[in-house]
Symmetry: C2
Subunit: 360 residues, 2 copies
């Protein structure tokens, strides 16, 4: 198996660690089970991850795989592509780093749309050293059209939705899974994107699935997760307000048929996406639209608000949470700052009203 | 080029011509530019298309390609796969017919999800005779994420939406294109599904596009069509109320950013899809949901109702149209029965209120 939580990772984030495009790098560092040996970004070389993110002073940022080897005294196990290149094609400099990693026998975990297993040059390097390339975003073959069966699972199904991309939909579900598990609940985070899949080692890369089978792929996740779990926490994707990805979001909503939604937003994002001409709506309006769209297939109320207050002072963050609660009447919290207990409480409270035989 | 409107077609509809699964066969017969030499369905052999559909007594239904050759005195140019097999894989009997067609030098136009160009056995037969296999549902490579630019095209953009699959979303846009063209308007039907693409020879098979690029593929259609046309008529797909395909529908809506929507439904369809547990909503409710979802990105009012009254008497059909008008206050018509003039009038009337410099 390519994924194993014991594998020691080097994360490629050349030129942009900590910036918008390095979501995968940050996600794997923050939530991955795997030890991270180093981040590769020559623009931050000599610093540690803590200098950029404020956490993990133990992870050095380096400028080459040679440096990693001298620090570790050995070769790391895998190179994680932690950023997305502009325009979608692989910069030549990155390709050299990837070939170098493969030559050293390191696996490559690739979350880009670009499939490295279809690049004959990279595969030749992999074959020579015995390294394995994992195209994280390659969907399972033969995903079905959805059947509507997710409606009937006895587990309590939660989906994270959001105002936009990259506001914290993965994060909240991971944080809720953590506190739920601590409380002894059989909870399972279901990955639907490349970062979530790298963190957990499984999932359906829903934005890469052929559109006719998106709901079917999402449904499959829920049906399988419901076999052994009582609380199913589905990672959200995109936003109904993001013109580029709203179809992915809706396919995920109608495929998983969640009982409840958790709505995420980030403070200080006046528009949705970039260039689409869409202003971020009020929380009330977002709730109205999400609940309308869910109810087209199955009612699914928004039961909590998750606020990404990144960059705010504690005082500002608390004021924002109060504002969100006042506007919506719903429990509102920043799960990274204050933990996910209140959000989990809201989920469990809502679960009590379910007419299906939920087991939480 | 594989597609040419002069090519003489044989349409494979073995075992189910005229039934639910033969939508592609019926669409190509009704709207395709190509001459149709015969329909291949041994269960109706000896009849004509008119015996089943009520139109085209000139097209015989036969049970073999040999029969077609003796009728024509020559080989037809292409075999159209006009039906979808249950379960998605190709029945052995069909495969024999397809190989037979290829051996005779006939092209094959295939609209299934199953890609025949990836079947080595079929491709060997094609190569031997020089026939060409057209996988109609194979999307253009490298479709982009949408940019939001469809908002700014000066043309008047209309999208057909519906209560369900197979209610008439393609048909209405084809009928409106016909009457608009007769009136001298530069109108263009934009195909988004396999049948529309076979009818017109171009388009984006939107339900086969990787989900991240659905809106981008839809946008591309509009941007290209707007270069030379004033009225853009986008074929709809699926339904926001169909749990299996709603993501495709929304991607198409938000990618094309239509100015107006035309809502289609068929009388006598109490549920949406089969097994999803969704009852067909009232017209008012469907309008509310479609307008809510469009407005998440760009307001796009429903301006006309298209009713598929198939199987009703003229009196019943007229009563249903009156009922739809009374409920919605919108012009309502069955474009197959009564032509698309009233729907086009409603579109042109709505176009007058556009703030963008529409050219119709």
């Amino acid at each position: 198996m390519v994924y194993h939580p014991g594998k020691k990772l080097v994360i490629l984030a050349e030129g942009c660690f900590g910036k918008k495009g390095s979501k995968t790098a940050i996600g794997v560092i923050r939530y991955g089970a795997n030890p991270v040996a180093a981040v590769l970004d020559s623009s931050h070389a000599g610093q540690t991850v803590a200098d950029v993110l404020g956490i993990r002073p133990d992870i050095p940022i380096v400028s080459s795989l040679d440096e990693v080897e001298s620090l570790l005294g050995t070769t790391a196990d895998a190179l994680v592509i932690g950023i997305a290149p502009r325009g979608g094609s692989l910069p030549a400099a990155w390709k050299d780093i990837i070939k170098d990693a493969l030559d050293r026998g390191m696996d490559v975990w690739n979350g880009l749309h670009l499939m490295m297993t279809e690049d004959p040059e990279l595969m030749e390097h992999a074959q020579r050293s015995g390294a394995v390339v994992w195209d994280v975003r390659k969907p399972q073959p033969n995903l079905p059209v959805s059947s509507g069966h997710a409606r009937h699972v006895p587990a309590h199904v939660i989906l994270a939705v959001g105002s936009d991309c990259s506001v914290g939909k993965m994060t909240v579900m991971l944080e809720v899974e953590k506190v739920a598990t601590q409380r002894g609940i059989r909870a399972l985070f279901c990955p639907t994107g490349q970062t979530g899949i790298m963190i957990k080692g499984w999932g359906v890369p829903i934005d890469r699935v052929i559109s006719d089978f998106v709901a079917g792929g999402a449904e499959k996740l829920v049906l399988e997760a419901a076999e052994d779990n009582d609380l199913i926490l589905v990672e959200g994707q995109g936003s109904l307000f993001h013109a580029g990805y709203s179809g992915v979001t809706l396919g995920l909503m109608h495929g998983t048929m969640p009982d409840h939604l958790v709505l995420c937003y980030q403070v200080g994002r006046p528009t949705v996406g970039d260039g689409y001409g869409v202003n971020t709506p009020s929380l009330k309006e977002m709730i109205r639209v999400y609940e309308t769209m869910a109810a087209a297939v199955k009612p699914s109320p928004v039961i909590a608000i998750v606020v990404n207050t990144w960059g705010m002072s504690d005082e500002e963050a608390r004021a924002e949470l109060k504002r969100a609660e006042a506007e919506t009447g719903l429990p509102s919290d920043d799960v990274v700052r204050y933990g996910a207990d209140r959000i989990l409480d809201a989920i469990l409270e809502a679960g009590k009203t379910l007419s299906k035989p939920a087991r939480t």
